[in-house]
């Protein structure tokens, strides 16, 4: 889901017969630059990577993937090249082993450790207003977290969810999309629970909200409201605050 409030920008200065440098905090971006140079056929080039990001780290907002994607695009650009989202996805997984799918413009079902696009949907997200919140707590290291092994029943549930997701995107049905997201949140709570999310799941319908969304590994969650429904948005924000959210964001998705 696009989150328009934050962004990463990268700058790459190529140097021939040099290593890629960027400092220890940017090792994922450095790996991304190295991987990109190999892929575009410039293995004897290196250079310096600089990244400027406003995205909070370790919250499940995809901050490291954003750095990696911005770097890959900057490196390619320095050589007059463009990369497809799929190529960037492969670079990102090579650079950070597990990557978010934010290199794609349209919704995808993305295997984040394999860089495998399981399904690409030919529709953009339907419109809704999202009230997002960060509940804080310790930073999440996506890689260090054990990989979830869903049981057979959950895998069966995911098939129903996937059918409903195709329908929601095809018809532009925000309410159905929100129900899919809520069902996925319920399953995620069994493995990566965010304590406050149980209250959101139980109460959101009474505020006029359509559903709940969480980062698969992170400390952020969101309440999906009908587009422009100020009343639902206000009630959601008030409840997020009373649950102890450190930060609350509001933005619209699926609108131009």
């Amino acid at each position: 889901m696009p989150f328009p409030l934050f962004a990463s920008t990268a700058c790459f200065t190529p140097v021939q017969d040099a290593d890629v440098e960027g400092g220890p905090l940017l090792w994922k971006a450095v790996r991304s630059a190295e991987e990109t140079l190999l892929r575009i056929g410039a293995p004897d080039w290196g250079g310096t990577v600089e990244v400027h990001s406003t995205i909070p780290r370790g919250r499940g907002l995809g901050s490291s993937t954003a750095d990696v994607v911005a770097t890959a695009r900057a490196v390619a650009h320095a050589f007059g090249r463009r990369l497809s989202p799929q190529e960037i996805g492969e670079i990102a997984v090579a650079a950070e082993a597990a990557s978010d799918s934010l290199m794609f413009d349209l919704p995808v079902l993305f295997a984040q450790r394999e860089a495998l696009t399981l399904e690409a949907f030919p529709h953009s997200l339907p419109p809704f207003t999202l009230i997002g919140a960060d509940f804080g707590g310790s930073d999440v290291d996506t890689l260090a977290a054990p990989q979830i092994r869903y049981d057979a029943r959950e895998r069966a549930d995911f098939r129903a969810l996937r059918g409903a997701l195709r329908r929601a995107l095809h018809l532009g049905d925000s309410s159905l999309l929100a129900r899919v997201s809520t069902a996925s949140t319920v399953i995620n709570q069994r493995y990566r629970p965010i304590a406050q999310v149980d209250a959101l799941l139980a109460e959101h319908a009474s505020w006029g909200a359509m559903g709940i969304q969480v980062a698969h590994s992170g400390t952020v969650a969101g309440v999906i409201c009908p587009l422009g429904d100020m009343d639902a948005a206000k009630r959601a924000a008030a409840r997020l605050e009373s649950l102890g959210a450190m930060e609350i964001w509001r933005f619209d998705v699926g609108v131009c």
Partner: protein, 350 residues
């Protein structure tokens, strides 16, 4: 749905999912050719994946119905040896078809003194398992991959129909109804599951007895039947089920078997009386029943009072306890209780 860009790898892949057909503004039929292809393929393919079926494995099971056909189709396609144990009910075209598919067929001629044909068949299965040490018995009544196979149907219904208020279907092993309803409820938690059984079946608390309507109902209680899935249960006798089977053909040109007729009768009633979309499973095509349900002379013999041109009954008789000597078409609110709780609740009331 759009046209796929891939050719199916075999008939199971091509034809295991139902066609979803509108039968009334709020009623959708899910019409299968042979529904049992789906659980048969899932049980066999998972066993292959887990290494429980290897190149020398003999698949053994007991069946007198469409599960045997589904299993024989899957085993033929996967190159597996299959030995089926059945009773005289299988004879005729079905037996011929099973043998064409390469299945070896043992027909048990005498019912056991205790437990009837079912017990006699199970005894032969045990002998065969001893004879073929490398064997795999799918056991649709207890294998969790039977209900799990219906995730594919839940995906299809969620995609094509969307929000479903009522899911209706005949119950035999419980696999299709429990598997489809449970998966659909992950997105549509308020979905109500309505099971269709027949009188003198043990599935929902009646005593076992002779039944004319076959393919649904059971003399045993299968572990794949999770009673707590069901909101409502209907018991339908052969006569209204056969009438509804013929009506489904006459009114919608859908040539289906008698368990489909029973489900259609119940689904039509719900679509007429309740709010929301009703989806009904229609498990198999009518060709197997040409000489029975679709033969007026045969019908007149077994159901002398049946008038095919009469209007179908529109509503069941509602009961508040499991009927013990029931007949016709009866229904009861089940409210997602276990069988034990239902029986205890009604003992408490009487």
């Amino acid at each position: 749905m759009s046209v796929s860009v891939e050719v199916a790898s075999d008939v199971v892949e091509a034809a295991c999912l139902p066609r979803l057909i509108r039968l009334a503004p709020n009623l959708v039929g899910a019409a299968f050719d042979v529904m049992k292809m789906l659980p048969a393929a899932h049980m066999v393919d998972e066993a292959i994946r887990e290494g429980r079926i290897g190149p020398g494995t003999t698949v053994i099971d007991t069946t007198s119905g469409t599960f045997g056909l589904g299993l024989a189709m899957v085993c033929a396609l996967r190159g597996l040896r299959l030995h089926l144990v059945s009773d005289p009910a299988v004879e005729g075209f079905l037996a011929q078809r099973l043998m064409d598919l390469g299945a070896e067929l043992t027909v048990v001629r005498e019912p056991a003194a205790d437990g009837g044909f079912q017990a006699a068949r199970l005894a032969v299965v045990e002998q065969l398992c001893a004879r073929y040490p490398d064997h795999f018995v799918p056991s649709q009544y207890g294998n969790v991959n039977n209900p799990l196979a219906y995730a594919a149907v839940a995906e299809q219904i969620a995609q094509v129909v969307g929000d479903v208020a009522y899911l209706v279907g005949p119950v035999g092993s419980g696999g299709s109804m429990c598997g489809t309803a449970r998966a659909l409820r992950s997105v549509f938690p308020s979905l109500r599951a309505v099971g269709v059984d027949t009188h003198h079946s043990r599935l929902f608390g009646q005593q076992d007895g002779p039944r004319l309507l076959r393919g649904l109902g059971n003399s045993l209680l299968p572990s794949n039947l999770d009673h707590t899935v069901f909101d409502e249960v209907h018991w339908v006798d052969a006569s209204p089920a056969y009438a509804a089977t013929r009506a489904l053909h006459r009114q919608h040109a859908l040539y289906m078997g008698p368990t489909s007729g029973a489900a259609y009768l119940v689904a039509k009633h719900l679509a007429r009386r309740r709010e929301g979309t009703v989806v009904t499973l229609l498990p198999d095509a009518g060709h197997r029943y040409e000489a029975t349900v679709y033969d007026n002379t045969w019908l007149a013999g077994v159901c002398p009072d049946l008038r095919l041109d009469d209007r179908l009954p529109t509503d069941p008789e509602m009961v508040t306890a499991v009927p013990m000597r029931g007949e016709g078409w009866q229904a009861m609110a089940w409210e997602r209780r276990s069988l034990h709780d239902v029986l205890a609740d009604q003992d408490g009331k009487s």
